[in-house]
Subunit: 397 residues, 2 copies
């Protein structure tokens, strides 16, 4: 049984803050401070270039990849870290399309995170071979998977609504028509149980700064099913994906398995912070996390609906059909969120009208949820959001 009192003690949470935005940027794991300081002073500072061997820097993308892999049901040795989620989408999608060269349709949905769609558009432009990005509504995805589809590219949990796709069923449908899948786990990894191997997923990608608490701009991950890993062509064929990076051959020859998805020199400081952050997951049962997440989300939905009738639920009501976040809709959502933040309740806003709250059992309790609802109810009942200050938009929303 997971002790959430124990996991909560591993994070730094500022005084007076109820943090419901761990789905955007997880809080600082206390261990990350010491781990990063040690990396700088004892590894970079003292070992200098020798750190690549002595401190194991060169192996970190694979070693940490396996740590992340255990949280998402990946086979050992099938996940590697590096770059950003958008770069990993590009790699996965390019490799996926290569597996189905005779087809031209990339199927996605309007609930996918826009960057995934942008990356697909850019790749289509480079390929210039008549590929098409077909975007349907989330509920129409299953019916749209047909023999024309090369790749089904979806984010499992919708970044705005929290709606959860059925990864196993959609992957099965894709395979039944000869298509392959690219799953974006940005809002899944660390939020709910994921079983990539069990679902027979082909490719998956994700970031680590949300539920995995790796820090702002933490390295991304890519999963390639062992069924494909030795045959895919890496589109971003950098030297660390080469079979023998330090032979300095003039010709590229892909490394074995998922190693070929490595590109350039890995971001060691960021990887060290992430490595420390992953310590919080040792001994945590993802089924416990899921149960507690649904409990916190349900509590929030019920209390808000009772006390703030002017807000409309923008997430599935059934806990089994969503990730670990809840959105409520209101045309003044931006100002409402600013008012909440000013009172120490941190969530975020997603255009055009969603206020979004992430629920993270590792460090968020039922008491936090109730206290947050008290503040939200006060703001809504007394229209405390209705000031010019709160309506003034900042760069990052």
């Amino acid at each position: 049984m997971t002790s959430f009192d124990q996991t909560r003690s591993l994070f730094h949470l500022p005084q007076g803050v109820i943090y419901l935005d761990g789905n955007s940027l997880g809080p600082l794991p206390i261990a990350a401070k010491e781990r990063v300081a040690r990396l700088l002073s004892d590894e970079w500072g003292e070992m200098l270039i020798k750190g690549w061997n002595q401190a194991g820097w060169m192996m970190m993308p694979r070693k940490i990849g396996d740590r992340v892999g255990r949280l998402i049901g990946a086979e050992e040795g099938s996940v590697v870290m590096g770059d950003t989620l958008s770069i990993k989408v590009y790699q996965a999608l390019a490799s996926a399309l290569d597996l189905v060269p005779e087809r031209k349709v990339i199927l996605s949905d309007s609930g996918n995170f826009p960057s995934d769609l942008y990356i697909a558009q850019g790749l289509i432009g480079s390929l210039a071979r008549g590929h098409e990005l077909k975007i349907v509504e989330p509920e129409d995805v299953e019916a749209a998977i047909d023999e024309n589809v090369a790749v089904v590219m979806l984010t499992e949990v919708d970044y705005r609504t929290g709606r959860l796709h059925d990864m196993k069923a959609l992957t099965q449908k894709a395979h039944s028509v000869g298509a392959v899948t690219v799953w974006d786990l940005a809002h899944s990894a660390g939020a709910l149980p994921v079983d990539l191997a069990g679902a027979k997923a082909d490719f998956a990608v994700g970031c680590t700064y949300k539920y995995l608490n790796g820090g702002p701009g933490a390295p991304a991950f890519v999963y390639v099913s062992p069924r494909h890993a030795d045959k895919v062509r890496p589109a971003l064929s950098g030297w660390l994906g080469h079979d023998a990076p330090f032979a300095f051959d003039l010709d590229y020859r892909p490394g074995a398995g998922v190693d070929r998805m490595r590109v350039g020199t890995p971001p060691i400081i960021g990887l060290a912070a992430l490595d420390a952050a992953l310590d919080a997951w040792e001994g945590v049962d993802m089924q416990d996390v899921r149960r507690q997440s649904i409990k916190l989300c349900d509590l929030f939905v019920n209390e808000v609906e009772k006390r703030c009738p002017m807000l409309t639920l923008g997430s599935p009501r059934d806990g089994a059909k969503r990730g670990s976040q809840i959105s409520f809709l209101h045309e003044e959502g931006y100002a409402i969120m600013q008012a909440l933040i000013a009172r120490g309740v941190i969530g975020d806003f997603r255009a055009p009208n969603a206020i979004r709250f992430g629920f993270t059992p590792l460090y968020t309790s039922e008491a936090d949820v109730l206290a947050a609802v008290d503040i939200l109810a006060d703001i809504m009942q007394n229209r405390l959001w209705d000031t010019p200050e709160y309506k003034q938009k900042a760069l990052v929303t």
Copy 2:
């Protein structure tokens, strides 16, 4: 006049080490420890998601890009940080090829860093439109620039020999035949004066963990000439290169200027370390660095040739024709370097036979150079490298 005694005090150099490998990984700037600790505790820890605005994280890629830009003669607002050098090569090369769509030849040389060549090979594979990577010897590049060439893609300073290309002359030649240039400044930025604007360079890329001391896997940079920046198509069209990232449109629309070269969420911890590292360049005159670099390199060459006749100079003898590094060749180079490292003189080895030493006036003195030669001479004269231990190759060489 630059005070190198002063700059030296800004770095942590381990006891008993003479560090001649700053061309591979620069040493720890003392200020980076405090800056990163502050980022973790005061920014990530206390501001959480608000750090993107309040601490200016979102603007760091451009702000630090301008700091790097000042060291390489780039116009203000023409450089942006992110990802790795290999990713930036992909972006720059894809955009460059788009500017000359009717031509199919990418011209490079055998002295280019292999990853740049691998990335070109991968891009050619994706484009699948008959492009060709033509690799000539470095001294044959100028003659090979003709009307068939779309892009001249070169590393200004050869990673093995230190040979320096004439950026201005080769760029002029490229433009005279209608080709565009991609310059890799991995061994140039912080090593010698670079004048991108004066040379009318089209694109440039580089890493920041060598002479700029940003730490292992520090973020890379890309420069796009203001002549091109508003018209190039970004191949890696991620959300932060979008004109309005937080509008979450379904369609990509490139941002203004070099902003379109941004891809995903920037690596803030790495950027913070780099930002602190760049403080060491405040008040430093790159002409002073160049003079001192040539002085240190010449001293090393002269002393080694006098005392180690069994080593063959692998770098240009003329200081004006090389960067800030010296290679000597010997068939047992790997073992020789291991013996040096065991004695506290850190350089590195590049296959097949080069021992390579970087000279970095910011923290390396003439006394360091003389002490290093004493040790090298002892190792060579007494064949101290000739042990099984030193011949055993490690993962990273």
